[in-house]
Amino acid sequence: MGEALAKPRLTKPPKLVTFVEAEYPEAERSEGSTASVVLQIAIGERGEVTDAKVLESAGPNFDAAALAAVRGFVFEPAEIDGKPAAIRINYRYEFVFRDAAPTYGVLTGVVRLRDGAPLSGVAVALDNGASAVTDAEGRFHFDELAPGKYRVLLSRDDLKTLQTEESVEAGQKLESTYEVEFEPLPSEGDEEEVDDLEIVVTAPKLTKQTVSTRVDAKDAKRVAGTQGDVLKIVENLPGVARATAGSGRLVVWGAAPEDTRVYVDGVRVPLLYHFGGLRSIVPSELVSSVELVPGAYGSPYGRGLGGLVKVDTRDPSLERVRGGATLDLLDASVAAHGPVAGDYQFALAGRRSHLDFVLNQATDDDLDEFFPIPRYYDAQAKLRKNFSPTESLELSGLLSSDTLSRGTASRDPADRKRETRELDFQRVSLRYQKAHADGTKVDVVPWFGRDGSSLETQFGGIPSLLEVDATVFGLRASVMGRVTPSITGTAGIDVEASSTSARRRGSFSTPGREGDTRAFGQPPSDQINTDTWESVIGSAAPFVEADVELAGGALHIVPGLRLDPYFVSVNRRVPADADVGDIGAYSSNIAVEPRLSTRIALSKRATIKAAYGEYRQPPLPEDLSAVFGNPLLGASSARHVLFGGAFELFPGLSLETTAFYTQSEGLAVRNPVSAPLVAEALVGIGEGRSFGTQFLLRREAKDGVFGWIAYTLLRSERRDEPGAAYRLFDYDQTHVLTALAAYALGAGFDIGARFRFSSGYPRTEVTGAYYDARRDLYEPTLGPHNGIRIPYFAELDVRAAKRWTFGTNELEVYVDVQNVTNRGNAEEIAYSSDYSTKRYIEGLPILPVAGATFGF
């Protein structure tokens, strides 16, 4: 009898080497349930799937998705008796509904040359080990990145390695465009560093506010009319009124300049621009980006009725000391940043104006008699320690000083005038940031500082002085994390307190206030008084905000709540009386400020949005005088409503439009009654409203071109007591249009242009005059309050720059010509001394400013 045939024996089971994830059926997405399909898979002797069929169904949609997926599986073939063989197996495919509630972020983007040509074959490596290679269109993509900062290395065999840094947030898709200027690799023996050429990171878009415009520093520097000052770009954004020449005031959505709050790295500062508006307070070398939120912002911010400006400074270089210097007609600045010992990095910068020196060399005249020349300086310092790529501690300092003086000597005592304004402030802050692997982010910024300001005038013998010295303290702390798969929550506290000493003497009417009915040049009242007072204003506002993602991420609902308690303490309730002694005043209040915003992505290219918010602003310390103001002034409040949409018309070209309405109450105004009570020179009975719409047609930096057209149609009104008729706000501008573009010609040449058009500010018409025989001067009689306007403004500015690169150094020389057509734009209405003749004060004539920036 022969040997019986042996039963075949499975000596090696098949092993799945390529898994294909089945798409969760769209039709089942609304249910969001789990499902499993049991399949029988036939695997060929080469490991391929030769057949598949459903054994246990989960419904036709799941079955089809599972079959499609497993047909793409690849196995290491099974072996029977040691030889590859076909086999059938049963396989359970599990469907798990995963809504877009990731604890990861996405980094995607494109690498291209400055002329816009995409670069393929560039290796993009992250410091967590992930890497990708750019495709033919220069694109790369990273999924599932844990939140945090990543070092990004770009390299190609024939090119130098470049490095930059990105912050990835959970649930966010960070789109970056890297414009690079590659140079051939150094020849052998060349010891030049290979990792320090410049990368320009443009337009990272992380939508956080319902309406905001964020501009990258490198783009902003190229805009004509800004003289290379990155932060001056804010004046060109939608919703911002054109400031009077040389004023630098930020009027956003018809709010008073002091109602818009400015933050640098989370620290509030009193102004964005130095006096005269010629320069911002942070050198461009240190600015990473600037964002303007004109209104309806979320609950983390408050204490302002107007907009919000957030300046982010750049992180110091991790690789080596870098820096730059800029010199032009206005000022000179230097900056340096880089690593120091261990994991520490530093940044230092300083700037000082020299316009007064330059102009005084050019003329023998005492220029202060003709032009008020701003004198300013500022300095910044930062020391940063990175505990890890996702955890850092930063100690920062910022100081700024401004002086503006003007005056005229005359034999005529009525014509002797002198005005001196000063503002100094300093800030020290500590910032701790940590991003956990689960997406939770912690950000804590305690800060401390001092604000000192003074305004002293002499106008034909009428003196006036206002000095304010404040010690300020703030703390901003927040935690953001995933609460549920579809809800991201933020909770925090925003604390601010100021202790202020103020002194004022002189004319009651100086300094002027919004709503004053007066004519330009009208002499101040000769009624004078004096007061010194001290106040403490404090507020600790806890806030929460949730970002609720629905419809697969297409719908975001962001409710927020801010509890804003505040107190005001003033040392004098009534004017000083030596025989009685001081009686202080204390007031406090608490308000709940709801905020809500929604974004609905109608498609990949269209989003609509709406938002509502309530805001409160404590009184200004200078308004709390028992003589000139009111120690019991309460907070003013505002409501913002907006509705709008954002549309990507073409790749790189977007249109954003927003309609808005704001209403404010409790604004401090001069007491309108003929016999006001003591310590009620100001009362909080003013009301205001602004409404309008803004458009932003923006082309992102591409092919060396970027720019935008911003247009705002707006009406802003005030009334100085309830029930009175509304009048135009002093800073109302019906039309504000800004069109700007910059183009990289190649070979280091850059050109740009900016055109601005805006309505003139309202003014009160002078209808006649009467003679004041006691003071020997004419006083105007006035028509309806703000019943006329200054003529419209139109100006074209151009800029040209050329950049040379020497190894790791770069030199840029630029010419920025403001008002290239030399148009005489009216800035103010001036009157003859008897008000019988009126003419316009015109803004700057053609003004070329040449400068150079050196970077290393």
């Binding site: 005269g276 003497r505 004078i528 309108p672 003591v678 003679y771 025989a773 003071r775 020997d776």
Partner: protein
């Protein structure tokens, strides 16, 4: 004169701009105009009688006279000008304007509520409320009762300085101020001189024959006033701030002021004490022809005269010249002269 309006006249925010010139002949008088209103006495208490005198610059000698009214309406804080605008309307309600009549000189009585409406006394409270805010003084510590003169379509605002007791100041300071304060005396022009380019001068007196100047000639007008004693000294004819009837009968039984730059006591709110200051005087110039170099001029330190250049017109004829001497406590004095241009 040719007035250049500088941007610097503004305290507004415009920093750098191109400033227009105004070719305003602001010292030229071509039609009758009230150029000064003098209260006699210069300072008075509630219930006291005063006279208001108008200097009408009338190149045609038409003899027109203004009509006067007392302004009774308090000025709200929202009004940045010197007077309630309701008082500038001719024929306003009598609760606003109290007519005083017409003429170069009219009489009035300081209203009993003047210190509450225009001075340091707190105004009558509204029902159920405390009394209101007092009016702020000027830099000389003065409060003023407004008077309005209407001449044709022109409106001119004048004032009488109010003598009111200060409230809300330390008791010691109030006592000291009462002892040391001397009411203002209207300044007076002692002499008006015409100084030629060669340094020769001639004194112009009202009623004298007109002095002759060449067409286009530049001359200087010099206005002189009395020197006031810088220290209180008994027997100097002025009852100074540190004298009284007990220490110096000669000067203070009937207190005498000085028609120049007087020294006066004033309560300084900042130091909460009584301090002594000297008046600042300045002269305003007007003419029916020619051009003054400045609208006003004042004295240099230590001098008691002010001067101003005047270029005679290109055409011949008589030219009237007016000068108004003002102190910074609301007082004023006038002078006028005739110049023949050939």
């Amino acid at each position: 004169m040719r007035t250049k309006l500088s941007i610097l006249i503004s305290l507004a925010a415009t920093t750098v701009a191109c400033v227009p010139d105004f070719d305003t002949e602001s010292t030229l008088v071509t039609s009758p105009r009230v150029v000064a209103i003098r209260s006699v006495p210069a300072e008075a208490r509630e219930g006291e009688a005063v006279e208001f005198e108008a200097l009408v610059a009338d190149p045609e000698d038409s003899g027109v006279e203004p009509s006067f009214s007392l302004c009774l309406a308090r000025k709200p804080l929202t009004e940045l000008g010197p007077v309630n605008p309701a008082c500038l309307v001719r024929g306003a309600d009598e609760s606003v304007l109290d007519p005083l009549g017409s003429g170069a000189r009219v009489s009035a009585t300081i209203p009993a509520t003047a210190c509450a409406s225009f001075g340091p006394e707190r105004p009558e409270p509204r029902p159920g409320e405390p009394a209101g805010r007092p009016v702020d003084p000027d830099s000389s510590g003065g409060f003023y009762l407004p008077v309005v003169a209407f001449l044709g379509s022109d409106v001119t605002l004048g004032a009488s300085r109010l003598r009111c007791d200060l409230a809300g100041i330390p008791r010691n300071a109030a006592v000291e101020l009462n002892q040391r304060y001397r009411v203002n005396e209207n300044p007076a022009v002692d002499e008006l001189e015409l100084v030629r380019a060669d340094g020769s001068s001639v004194t112009l007196r009202d009623g004298d024959d007109a002095v002759t100047v060449e067409r286009g000639e530049r001359v200087t007008f010099r206005v002189r006033w009395s020197e006031c004693p810088s220290e209180s000294e008994c027997g100097d004819g002025v009852c100074g701030a540190r004298e009284d009837a007990a220490t110096c009968e000669a000067d203070c039984i009937t207190p005498k002021g000085c028609t120049g730059a007087e020294r006066y006591a004033v309560y300084d709110a900042e130091s909460q004490s009584v301090v002594e200051r000297a008046e600042a005087l300045f002269v305003s110039y007007l003419a029916s022809g020619g051009t003054f170099e400045e609208e006003r001029s004042d004295a240099r330190a230590g001098e008691s005269f002010a001067e101003n250049g005047w270029r005679a017109p290109a055409q011949s004829g008589p030219m009237q010249v007016w000068g108004v001497l003002r102190d910074d406590r609301g007082g004023s004095g006038f002078v006028s002269a005739l110049v023949q241009v050939k």
